[in-house]
Amino acid sequence: MRWMKSIGAATIMLVLMSLTLSTFASSHKLVLTGSSTIAPLAIELGRRFESLHPGVRVDVQTGGSSRGINDTRKGVADIGMVSGVLKSAEQDLQAFAIALDGVGIIVHASNPVTTLTNRQIVGIFTGRITNWQEVGGHDARITLVNKAEGRSTLESFLAYFQLKNSEIKSHIVIGDNQQGIKIVSGNPHAIGYVSIGAAAYDAQRGVPIKLLTMDGVAATVANVRNGTYPLSRPLNLVTRLPPTGLVKQFIDFARSKQTHDLVEAQYFVPVSVD
């Protein structure tokens, strides 16, 4: 029976340990979930916030803007990350913009195509154009990478081109931005759309992708900043109730000047409140 005793003792110890640890940890933890566009920035923000407030822990999880809204409503997350303007059904939440970002079309770096018109883009995504030759590229079939239903990047894209998701004839459906970048970087004939910030960040680090010029406007941070790039949206932090305490501190911190370098390092455009 000795082994039973030791298992029993271990169980009790573990329960006690978890209880003490959890009471110790619960009050100083911030949970952020939502948009995969904002997540890399939020991780950096969290890191700096932790260094300024010892004992605080910031956990960031991705999953899409809708998840951010869901989790915030259910109270699983303290702060939701939502890219794009809140819809009318989401007005129960408090939104705080922390940056601006664009949605850009990406292709593999070896693709000779550098610019596409809106008509061409609509043609490609609705399946009327299926070969790169038709838009000035190599003779190869286009592999279309689309985002999964419910992603805010998809919604911004559809709204801008006035398309319905059912019209898009995709070959691969993805979730996070990074997944799209990964697939496009591994497939020379793929085309997709992702957050400009995420794409520029990875392109600069040597991932073989490039952002296409859309209707004559280059997809750059500068063009998002000066408003000439048409497909841009705000990146928001949302809460269920007006923020207080640690949550308020974090949101204020994220919107302050001292984080602009972090925002710019992710190729987003900072918005300032102070």
């Binding site: 899409g64 809204i69 419910g150 993805i174």
Partner: protein, 292 residues
């Protein structure tokens, strides 16, 4: 006077009673979990079951939950294509592996091969998916874009269930009494005659059980398929067309689905569960009626 300082028999009888009660509580908990899961799937999908006719999940135009179109059929066929394709490939290979280990290989090779298969049985499905994503998909892409396709998911699922099939068939064949085989050899049957006429029929029950187990795993597999299938909701018209399975659909959209969309995902979970329960019932029926 050693014997009856005290009688502990009464004590141990009551220990038995307490022990049994504790065990009952444990078993009750175990059984309740299944009810919990079922109850909760029903609860979560109830809102949508109440106002959307059941037929719409099969007759709507397509799967666009945000446009109020909830056709689950392409994902059901995707699941069925992928898992039946994988079974079609894996069953012959698995049984061949088992036969090889028992009847064809030298003892040393057999052990070596079994170790290899056991090692592979321990490889997590996500690693198979990862390998498929980095090796298989680019290969298929060169041949026939886009690469992420029904074919890729069939191949990955095959690799995943092959070790299970090989090991269960092996166990079933090993359990065939040596006397049968000796009698067959004594009657002058050739090797294949003995295998086909005696060994396989005697081991059939175990092999079928293994196949159903593998089928369950193939239908339920999520991540490996999610990684290589392309996840486009459509009826596959060729092996190279991307597909989406029921499980991948849940994994892909659950995190940010809301309202009806979320409830429909639970409906697809329910559907998946029913599919698999049907499989178990078939297995039970098969076990009852078709034993040798």
């Amino acid at each position: 006077m050693i014997w009856w300082k005290h009688s502990i028999s009464f004590l141990s009888a009551s220990i038995d009673r307490w022990f049994s009660a504790a065990l009952r509580i444990g078993a009750l908990l175990a059984a309740l979990i299944m009810l919990f899961i079922l109850l909760f799937l029903l609860l979560e999908s109830w809102p949508v079951l109440r106002h959307i006719a059941l037929m719409r999940f099969f007759t709507d135009e397509a799967w666009h939950p945000l446009e109020d179109q909830y056709n689950l059929l392409p994902m059901v066929t995707g699941t069925l294509y992928a898992s039946s394709g994988a079974l079609l490939l894996a069953i012959p290979l698995g049984i061949a592996s088992a036969l090889f280990m028992i009847f064809y290989a030298t003892p040393r090779t057999a052990v070596l091969y079994r170790r290899l298969i056991e090692l592979l049985a321990g490889i997590p499905s996500v690693v198979f998916g990862f390998w498929g994503l980095t090796t298989l998909v680019p290969l298929i892409n060169q041949w026939h874009p886009p690469g992420a396709s029904l074919l890729a998911s069939i191949l990955i699922l095959t690799l995943m269930i092959l070790p299970t099939l090989a090991l269960t068939s092996y166990a079933a064949l090993v359990a065939v009494p040596k006397d049968y085989l000796q009698a067959a050899v004594a009657l002058g049957l050739s090797r294949w005659g003995m295998i086909y006429g005696v060994a396989l029929p005697a081991a059939r029950k175990g092999i079928v059980a293994g196949i159903l187990l593998a089928a369950g795993r193939a239908i339920g597999e999520t991540m490996a398929v999610l990684m290589v299938a392309g996840n486009v909701v459509q009826h596959a018209d060729s092996l190279f067309a991307p597909i989406r399975t029921l499980t991948a659909n849940i994994a892909l959209e659950m995190a940010y689905a809301m309202g009806d969309h979320r409830a429909v995902l639970f409906v697809s979970g329910l559907l998946l569960l029913l599919l698999v329960i049907a499989l178990t019932i078939i297995a039970a029926w098969f076990g009852k009626t078709h034993h040798v």
